[in-house]
């Protein structure tokens, strides 16, 4: 925990085109007996206007917690989240609620995230009703416009969620997220529950909507192939820390962190000729507990290139620029 203070804000932080800026954000959940789960532990990055920032990592690395911190659905333990020039982490109540109009989420499970007893029209209009934006005929017109926008029949507004397939439900979730013309849409595993052929439809839809509406996405997924496809930049998390941020080509073609490299080697490529020749970078052991993370670099217990005991087990590597616009937190990034 003492090391959290060492974290440097990303060098490019504060650039003119940052839509969201996250500075030294920490989220600890109490876990009883005075311990805490260090779900997000000193994280700094920015989301640039109009980009898609991908966020990958394995289960338990803190990516969903981070999404909820960015949208301020849960309060930070410490640190700051800015939307433009406005600091969200200083706001409460009604003021924060008004800011949240600009931050919307699309969730993973298209079955659990829609109220089965509401019509599709009411589901999509709920954000409008919450903020008292549109009423009466204008409201219904907006609903139909949104349905058309996500590729559904505008006359479906009186139907119920159970009448739709998984892919169609996810389109309804997207329409709801867009109802208030948000600036940032956080997609938390938004396509993970869908079939391959439907995933492609939704990915294409998200890309079209981004162009049309000038949206900014924070796209969270454990499927690195999809993240690579959709993202301009990719951020990799391990045990509550960001270990690498770079444009997606850089991350995938020349990773600067051994964890990223291992993660990439584990993705099966749908081509037997290539897949047979690929070598898996095996990680030893299991992910350590976020209640009691390892000292120094958190990855050192599983790292294939760690220099032990020092510096890897003693000093936490800062997230710093290794090559232009390519940040990694590793003492030996040149050896990756």
């Amino acid at each position: 925990m003492a090391q959290a203070a060492q974290i440097q804000p990303t060098p490019s932080a504060g650039a003119a085109n940052a839509l969201v800026r996250v500075e030294n954000v920490v989220k600890h959940f109490p876990a009883g007996l005075g311990t805490s789960v260090k779900a997000v532990d000193g994280v700094s990055f920015e989301i640039r206007e109009g980009e898609t920032l991908g966020l990958v990592g394995e289960s338990g690395c803190g990516k969903s917690t981070l999404a909820r911190l960015v949208t301020q659905l849960i309060p930070v333990t410490s640190g700051h989240v800015f939307l433009g020039d406005v600091e969200l982490t200083r706001m409460h109540g009604e003021k924060l609620r008004q800011q949240r109009r600009q931050l919307q989420m699309i969730f993973q499970d298209p079955f659990a995230s829609l109220d089965p007893r509401m019509t599709v029209g009411d589901i999509i209009a709920e954000p409008l009703d919450n903020f008292g934006v549109l009423r009466g005929r204008k409201r219904n017109e907006r609903v139909q416009e949104l349905l058309r926008l996500v590729g559904l029949n505008p006359n479906f507004n009186n139907r119920y969620p159970h009448e739709f397939s998984g892919g169609q439900r996810q389109r309804i979730g997207i329409a709801r997220a867009l109802a208030l013309n948000p600036k940032l849409v956080v997609c938390d595993e938004a396509i993970s529950a869908l079939d391959v052929s439907i995933q492609a439809q939704i990915v294409n839809l998200l890309e079209d909507l981004q162009q049309k509406l000038k949206l900014t996405y924070l796209f969270i997924a454990h499927d690195l192939s999809v993240v690579r496809h959709i993202s301009d930049r990719v951020m990799v998390m391990y045990l509550g820390k960001i270990v690498e941020i770079a444009d997606s080509v850089g991350t995938y073609s020349s990773p600067k962190h051994p964890y990223t490299k291992a993660l990439l080697s584990a993705i099966p490529v749908p081509d037997p000729k290539i897949q047979r020749g690929r070598r898996l970078v095996e990680l030893s052991g299991e992910i350590p507990s976020p209640i009691n993370p390892p000292s120094g670099c958190r990855f050192h217990t599983r790292c294939p290139i760690a220099h032990l005991p020092t510096p890897c087990a003693d000093n936490e590597p800062p997230l710093e620029e290794k090559v232009r616009d390519h940040l990694a937190a590793c003492h030996y990034s040149q050896d990756v």
């Binding site: 394995e58 289960s59 397939s165 892919g167 169609q168 079939d195 391959v196 052929s197 439907i198 995933q199 492609a200 439809q201 990915v203 294409n204 890309e207 454990h222 690195l224 192939s225 999809v226 690579r228 496809h229 959709i230 995938y252 291992a262 993660l263 990439l264 080697s265 584990a266 993705i267 099966p268 490529v269 749908p270 081509d271 037997p272 000729k273 290539i274 897949q275 047979r276 898996l280 095996e282 990680l283 299991e286």
Partner: protein, 350 residues
């Protein structure tokens, strides 16, 4: 070629639902050879899991295997008595499932549950117990001697799946059926489990049937592939042929709709328009025709049969991709709407 160890012929499994009869598996036939690793791929509802469950007569109510033959060592598994099939399950053919969390009993020690699999088939207790430790070592669980005493919640997801594989291998089966064994796991763990399955397949010579929706998994592990769509086999071939030269438009579309981690540049994904058919009312003719860019008039009315289109390749398609490439310019096709390649009822999704 030697006689296959498993021959499935015209397997049909139906579910009697309130809405009517759903034929989840509709005339599936294939062979499994000794020691080979066969992938069955398809999307949800394609019938791949129900096919696997049907082989061992594990289809839950209101489902029933209503026809066909599953020939294993010259006996039809579908004709055995309940006691006889129980002898086959777990001894000759064993199965591992998607969710290792719910497949293990949370109140019994992991080692005991693996012992149990052997005790059920008459192995003496002491011998079973000793073998459990060996099995856990074989699936590379560290400190196996102490892990046998752990309860399932003390193991990580990857270790639980390893324990399930150990259980599946405990009676040295000839066939191991793995139903989406890595879907619930993280990618790094998935890669380890797949390597383990590959090694075990080579070392122990047990044939593996790998059921998955992930084409990447098949590419790494399997030698032969079956592609299912809407309860039927649409294509069957060697892994090389299926990936390099798929003949069914569904296989072709599926491969192109996946983003690849090794992609060089950003290309728009070629999705498959529409959704999989409702099996209560499957479409007439070819079941893929409402979504197929290369459909011709015949596809609307006549059901294609699985025919040989090359060495080791079967496909159920009136057009096939060879023809679609030659005559419809499939390789340069940007528009992937139904009928776009052939021009038949262009863009209409039923």
């Amino acid at each position: 070629m030697a006689t296959p160890i498993l021959q499935v012929r015209d397997l049909r499994t139906q579910f009697m639902t309130d809405g009517g009869i759903v034929t989840a598996v509709d005339g599936v036939s294939f062979d499994l050879h000794q020691g080979e690793s066969l992938g069955i791929v398809g999307e949800s509802g394609s019938g791949k899991s129900v096919t696997a469950l049907s082989l061992l007569r594990l289809v839950p109510d209101p489902g029933r295997v209503v026809g066909g033959k599953v020939l294993f060592k010259n006996q039809d598994l579908l004709q055995l008595t309940d006691d006889e099939i129980r002898e086959v399950r777990g001894r000759d053919i064993s199965m591992i499932f998607q969710d290792p969390q719910s497949s293990l009993n949370p109140v019994l020690r992991t080692g005991f549950q693996i012992d149990e699999a052997m005790l059920a088939h008459g192995r003496p207790k002491a011998e079973a117990h000793a073998r459990t430790v060996d099995l856990l070592k074989q699936v590379r669980i560290p400190a196996a001697e102490s892990r046998v005493k752990d309860f399932p919640h003390q193991l990580s997801g990857g270790m639980r799946q390893r324990a399930m594989i150990a259980m599946g291998l405990s009676n040295a089966p000839q066939i191991l059926i793995a139903d989406e064994p890595t879907t619930a796991l993280d990618v790094t763990v998935q890669a380890q489990i797949l390597e383990l399955l590959g090694d075990l397949n080579r070392e122990l010579g047990a044939a593996v049937i790998m059921i998955t929706h992930n084409m990447g998994v098949v590419a790494g592990l399997c030698t032969r592939v079956i592609v299912m769509y809407a309860g039927q086999i649409v294509e069957q071939g060697t892994v090389e042929q299926i990936f390099a030269n798929p003949q069914h438009p569904y296989t072709w579309s599926l491969l192109r709709s996946m983003p690849r981690v090794d992609a060089v540049r950003h290309e728009r994904l070629r999705s498959i328009e529409g959704i999989a058919p409702d099996l209560l009312h499957p479409p007439a003719g070819c079941r893929f025709h409402p979504r197929c860019p290369f459909r011709i008039e015949k596809c609307y009315t006549d059901e294609p049969v699985l025919e040989e289109h090359g060495p080791d390749n079967l496909a159920a398609c009136w057009v096939t991709m060879d023809r679609a490439r030659k005559e419809m310019g499939a390789d340069d096709l940007v528009d992937i709407r139904p009928g776009a390649g052939s021009g038949v009822h262009k863009g209409q999704v039923k």
